[in-house]
Symmetry: C2
Subunit: 365 residues, 2 copies
C-alpha cells in the first residue's frame, strides 16, 4: 500500500525532519561516505574533515540512529522486564508500577530503556527470554517473584542474558539479587501486638511455593516460639481475597479466636476487614448492644502498604517499603553487571517501616 | 576493565551461546561473508548457497540480531509510552497496568516491544519524544491524558513520530484517537439514582484542565437539567483524596445536603466514604440511636472501578471499563498507522458498564 497517497493523516510526510548524514554532507559540500567515515571515526578521512563533520553534526543537532549505535556498540541499551502476572495480579499492581518507575529513573540516566512485556505464565516468560536472547533484543533482564526450583536462573545463564533478581536471597553462583531487608519486620509487628496484650495471633499468608511467603512464615513461627504466645496459626490463601475472608471468619467464630491477624498483602487484609465489619456491626445490631464500632474488632496488620490501608475504616497498620527506590537500586546493579564491574549480589537493602494505624492502635485506647 | 577476569559472576562467559553467522559459516565450511550475503539476499552468491545457508540457519536456530533488523527495515519494532504521572498518580495505577498489558498483547503478536518511560512533567515527556525521534528509538508513541492546549500533538507531528491518543476526541487533522464511549454512562448513573428517589446530587470531579473531566462534568449538568433535579453541585478536587473527603463533609453538613455523590475516581470515593462512615457511626453512638450502619449513608457512585470498590464496606457502585482491551485496540490502531494503512481515528469504542453495588442498592431495600 502506498502510504503517501492513502494515509488519511499526514504522518508519512514528517519523516524527513530527522537530521541525516546526507544533511551534514550537503551542509559541508562533501560526500555522504566521507561523513559516515568521519562520524564512525574510521580511517580514510583527514582529522580536519572529522573535526568539521563533528562540528556540523553538533550544529545541526544530528544524533546517531539508535539501532546503528546498538549494532556498533554491541549494546542494545535496553533492559527487559517480563514478569509473570498470575495469582498475584491484584496485589502487585501498585508496587510494580512504582518499582518500574524507579528502575526507569536509573536507566534514563544512562540512556537505557525499559522494555516491558508482562507474561501470563512461566512458560511464556521463558519463551520471551529465549526470543530476546536470540535476537539480541536486550542487554539484561530484571527478575521478580523467585519460586521454589525456579527454572529461570539456569535458563538465563544458558542464554547468556545478564540478570538481577529483585528478591532473594537466591542459591545461585551466577544470579545476583537485591532483597528488601524484612528480617526485623516480623519481630517488630509481634512486639507491637504483644505490648497491646495479644497472645493469640493468626498469620494469613499468600502462597507456600513463593520464597518470600515461606521466609515470612518461618520468621513468624520463630518469633512466636520465642515469645511464648498462647496460640498461633498460619493459613495460606493463594493470594485470593475471598479465601482470606473465609479463613478469617472461620478462625474468628472458633472457641478462643485469635485477637490479632497479620495478612501478607493489603488485598487479603481489606477483604477480611470487610467481612469482619459486616459481621460485627450486624451482630451488635441483632443483639441490641449499642457499641461504638470498631469496638471488638481484632487487631489487623498488613505486610504490604498501599492507599487502601490508609483509606479503609479503620485504617490498617502496615509495612511500608519504597518500591521506587528498590527498582532504582535493582536497575543500577544490573547496569553494573552489564558493564562487567566487580559487584556482589545477594544483598539485603532498604529496611521497611511499620506504619501504625487505627487497626492496631484502637486496642491501646 | 576486563570483564572476563573481574566479573565475580559468570555472565561474560555465556555470551557466545547465541548462534552467529560464523557458526553457520563453520557448519557449511564457507566464508562468513558468503553467509552474510546469502542471509541478506544480496547478489554475489548462488541461489543454491542461499538455500543451504537458510536451511543451516533454521537448523541451528539462528535469528537476526534485533538492531541489524531494525536498521535494515527502517523499523525499530518498538512503541514508546512515556506518560506524565503527576497529580493523578494514585488513580491511574490499576488502569494503567492493565492498559499496558493489553497494548503489549497486541504488540507481541507483531513482535513489537513496548518501551515504558514514565515522566514527571510535561516538559520531560516532550524531551523524551525529542530524544526518541532524534535517535530513531521508537516507531510511534501512545498518548494519554489529553489536556487543554496540549502541546504534544503539534510537537509529535514536527518530530515525525507516529502517535495515537488513548482518549479524546481530539481537534487535530493529524492525531488519531480512540476513546471509551462514556456518553451513556452519566445518563445511566443519573437514571439509576433518580429511580431510587435522589433529587439532590453532587458531582465530585478531578481536574478542570483535563479534557475527560470537563466532558463528564458537562454531561452531568446536561442530564441533570433534563431531569429537573432539585439541586446539583460540581466540585473539583485536583484528584486529591483529602480534598474529596473535606468537600463531601462540607456538603453533607449543609442544609438540604445531597443524598447522592458521584466521584470521578474510586480513590476520591473511598476517602470520602471513610470520612462519612466515621462521622455517621460516631453521631449515632453519641445520639444514642441504635441503627444498623450503613443506614443514613448517602448513595455513592464511582466513575472508575477497581478492587477497592468491591472490598469497601459498603461496596461501591462503579463504572467498569476493560482497560486491557482498550490498550490492545489503541496499540493495534497505532500499528496500522505505522503501516500506512488508511485508518480513521476519533472513534469511540467500548461501552463501559455500571456495576451496581451496596452503596446505591441499600436505598432500594
Amino acid at each position: 500500500m502506498d502510504s503517501d497517497s492513502n494515509c488519511c493523516c499526514e504522518h508519512s510526510k514528517q519523516k524527513q525532519l530527522r537530521i541525516s548524514l546526507k544533511d551534514i554532507a550537503s551542509e559541508l559540500g562533501i560526500s555522504q561516505t566521507a561523513v559516515s567515515f568521519a562520524i564512525n571515526d574510521k580511517p580514510g578521512v583527514s582529522a580536519e574533515t572529522k573535526k568539521k563533520v563533528n562540528e556540523a553534526a553538533m550544529k545541526l543537532g544530528w544524533r546517531p540512529v539508535y539501532a546503528a549505535q546498538a549494532l556498533g556498540s554491541s549494546r542494545t541499551m535496553t533492559i527487559g522486564f517480563a514478569p509473570t502476572r498470575s495469582y498475584d495480579e491484584l496485589k502487585d499492581e501498585s508496587f510494580m508500577l512504582h518499582f518500574m518507575a524507579g528502575a526507569q529513573a536509573s536507566l534514563s540516566k544512562r540512556r537505557y530503556g525499559l522494555l516491558y512485556q508482562p507474561c501470563s505464565s512461566m512458560k511464556e516468560e521463558l519463551a520471551t527470554y529465549e526470543d530476546w536472547a536470540s535476537r539480541k533484543r536486550v542487554d539484561g533482564v530484571i527478575l521478580v517473584n523467585l519460586q521454589d526450583n525456579d527454572p529461570r536462573p539456569a535458563r538465563l545463564k544458558e542464554l547468556g542474558l545478564f540478570a538481577v533478581l529483585a528478591g532473594g536471597p537466591v542459591d545461585s553462583d551466577w544470579l545476583l539479587s537485591l532483597s528488601i531487608d524484612d528480617s526485623q519486620v516480623m519481630g517488630c509487628i509481634l512486639d507491637n501486638l504483644l505490648e497491646s496484650g495479644h497472645k493469640r495471633i493468626a498469620y494469613i499468608s499468600g502462597d507456600s511455593s513463593l520464597m518470600y511467603s515461606k521466609y515470612r512464615q518461618k520468621s513468624f513461627q520463630m518469633f512466636a516460639a520465642e515469645k511464648n504466645l498462647d496460640k498461633i496459626c498460619v493459613e495460606y490463601t493463594g493470594f485470593k481475597p475471598e479465601n482470606a475472608a473465609r479463613i478469617t471468619m472461620d478462625l474468628l467464630t472458633q472457641e478462643d479466636p485469635p485477637t490479632a491477624f497479620i495478612y501478607e498483602t493489603e488485598i487479603l487484609a481489606i477483604a477480611s476487614l470487610k467481612a469482619m465489619t459486616e459481621y460485627l456491626i450486624k451482630r451488635d445490631y441483632e443483639e441490641n448492644t449499642h457499641r461504638y464500632y470498631p469496638y471488638k474488632l481484632p487487631a489487623i496488620v498488613s505486610f504490604e502498604d498501599s492507599f487502601i490501608c490508609e483509606s479503609s475504616y479503620p485504617s490498617i497498620t502496615s509495612v511500608q517499603r519504597d518500591a521506587s527506590e528498590y527498582g532504582s537500586k535493582v536497575a543500577n546493579l544490573l547496569l553494573k553487571v552489564i558493564d562487567g564491574e566487580n559487584v556482589k549480589g545477594d544483598r539485603k537493602i532498604l529496611t521497611p517501616r511499620l506504619v501504625l494505624r487505627d487497626s492496631t492502635l484502637l486496642y491501646k485506647r
